[in-house]
Amino acid sequence: MSTGAEQPQQLVDHLFRHEAGKMIAVLTRVFGIGNLELVEDTVQETFLKALQVWRYGQLPDNPSAWLMRVARNRTIDLIRRQQKLANLSEELAHRLQSSTENAVDHFFLDTEIADSQLRMIFTCCHPALNPEDQVALTLKTVSGFGVQEIARALLSTDSAIQKRLYRAREFIKSETIRFEIPVGHELSGRLDVVYTVLYLLFNEGYNSLKADELIRHDLCAEAMRLCKLLTEHQVVADPPAFALLSLMCFQASRFESRIGEDNTIILLQKQDRNKWDHELIRMGYYYLNLSSRGDQLSVYHIESAIAAEHCLAPSFESTNWSALLQLYDYLLQRKPSPVVRLNRSIVVAQLEGVHAAIDLILDIPGIRTLLEQHYIYPAVLGELYGRAGNCNEGRRLLQMAYHLTSSLAEKRLLQDKLDALTVGQNDHEEIHRRPG
């Protein structure tokens, strides 16, 4: 009865969430994707049982195995109940019972669990679902997030998330999507969608300054966990998966050093590079290495190489800008998006000066609209104008950016830049006045 424990017992971080993802995948394999509700209820019951029994002081030696065992028993119970309804003879029922147990046990093997989770990822990332629904459904069924947690993570409302999940589930039911890992040609097309969703998940966590720190961290960790799952599967593991995982490692290594106390943004050039997570950087190189086989050069390869280049430089000043420019040129060929052009122009500013960079930004197709819609464009352009000495234009654009972003941290950063411009200009005037 006594635990004799002196130290509080600690559950593995996110144990329930991760086990939920596993259980949902395994049980879907048993009951079919059309029975997702039954599956989720069963998972819920399993956790309730754990809560009821464990909280009075009895943590099992292997909580994860305990949970899976309860889910397995419950599954067999449910099947047996169905069989009872079929009014079978006692003898047949008896025979079916032992074969049911064997079949169910097979699904609960570790290798099969991983396989089921991948099937679930592919199902949630079905190309016919719209991207928003893919992300919400992945977080719910693969990652075990609750509706509120998804809403917090994606900066949405509970009811909007409910709606997305409902829509996605109805679609999966009505379209009789097969719960499997696609093969051959179909696999590579589907993998692209999976990569996009995982990359989106990661970026939601990495970039959204409005969501709270904890949930952002969880999102990044989850994206990395799922990406790792892809790399560990014999058939699914593809060079871009390794490249994406390495990109995530490099980015995540700066997670802590980008945000200062009271949630202020610390820019790359001011970050304390000793605070970067060197274990993650090491892993980044490790996976980047593994990604360089075959003849595929994905955007993730290039983006990871760009991130690696930053991690490699001991200081901002010693960054190899020409190597970066070349990488951005490759990236631009693959992904000619405005954001890539914008980022490339920042590298050009380091190499050829701010005027060349300003020209490049003004040449981005649709730049007028972009400047009015996304704070990042006026923020970058405004700063470049400031550095070029055109303080009025700089200030105008920074103010525009200030009004476009709703993140307090970004507003603060922009305000600092505005202040610096004003101070800089005053100094300038002082100097002019003095000789006169």
Partner: protein, 117 residues
């Protein structure tokens, strides 16, 4: 030191519709409390009770199913805890993590029947 019984009543967790993360957080609060009591050498043990039960009562006793108390008053389990006094035991019960969901703790001293000298 005397032994005390902590009797826990509260809503059934299944009515709360917790997410996996919330379930884990609830569990962790219990472990933290048990850990705190154990560190002071106060926690003796505890066990949950099954939800199903029978009640036997009456002059001509009859057996009925239940008690199906109101969901929020369900007797979920107990602890045995050591304390110097009833007052201290009640202090220890303040760490109970389920006040937030309208749970309650009944604190009772377990009577030791002394050997008559």
């Amino acid at each position: 030191m005397k032994d005390f019984l902590f009797i826990f009543r509260g809503p059934a967790y299944e009515d709360l519709h917790l997410t996996p993360e919330e379930s884990q957080a609830a569990m962790q609060r219990w472990y933290d409390w048990i850990g705190e009591l154990s560190a002071k050498d106060r926690y003796v043990g505890g066990e949950p009770l099954h939800k199903e039960g029978k009640t036997v009562q009456g002059n001509k006793p009859v057996v009925t199913d239940g008690p199906f108390a109101e969901g929020k008053e369900l007797l979920g389990g107990y602890f045995i805890v050591k304390a110097e006094s009833l007052e201290e035991a009640a202090q220890l019960a303040l760490g109970y993590p389920d006040f937030r969901i309208n749970g309650s703790v009944e604190v009772r001293e377990i009577m030791k029947i002394p050997m008559p000298s």
